[in-house]
Subunit: 104 residues, 2 copies
DNA sequence: AGTTCATATTGACAAAAGTTAATCTGAAAC
DNA sequence: GTTTCAGATTAACTTTTGTCAATATGAACT
């Protein structure tokens, strides 16, 4: 799916200051939800809401380990977002569009 | 003022499907508002609202020519957004490594 | 001066996104 | 089995964002 709406979802995930702060924390490495709740000083459902949006955008990946959920920045998801941004801001004459599809 | 909030504003500009569609039209080259109104099939105040958000993000530049306003994708604004996205999705250890080992 | 034309702004409303207490789920341990 | 704990989901609410008719602005004419 390559509609403008689906592309917008990727940037919508990055359009909130608190989610960018979460990403900043994840730049230090994989972290579990309980750590992020403490570091963000945020109620548990609020963090869960933001993590869902980040994960659905593909930029963050989650890993289940027993009761704990670990989050980390997805290399492939980030690369996809970067490529997407590059394409949508490049005049058409300058480059031929290549098909964008990302998998994990 | 939170720095994450100001970063978020750049991506907020890209978080709407209609604004991405406008960008897509601007990839063809500079266009004036009256053309975009027709191509977007959008009331004039609605386009004006979206153009303001795109311009304030730095991704689009406007140029006044008499009564007409011409819009185009800003190369520097786009480059800034791209660099921003690259930084916020790159693990910190990787960035440090790059600074430590410079290539000729 | 006044008129016209292109666009920006205002204001009132509708739609979408964010917050959080309460509740549910599912995994590990007893 | 039951209890506990981590996290997801729900539901009701607040805030923010998007829409568009009406109006204002400002430039280029007469």
């Amino acid at each position: 799916m390559n509609t403008c709406e689906s592309k917008a979802a990727v940037f919508k995930a990055l359009s909130d200051g608190k989610r960018l702060r979460i990403l900043e924390l994840l730049r230090e490495g994989e972290k579990c939800a309980c750590i992020l709740i403490k570091q963000m000083n945020m109620p548990q459902p609020t963090l869960s809401y933001h993590m869902k949006i980040l994960c659905e955008s593909g930029i963050v990946k989650s890993r289940q380990q027993g009761k704990w959920t670990h989050y980390r920045i997805s290399e492939s998801g980030s690369a996809y977002a970067l490529e997407l941004l590059k394409i949508i801001t490049t005049p058409i004459s300058h480059t031929k569009d290549k098909k964008l599809c990302y998998k994990d």
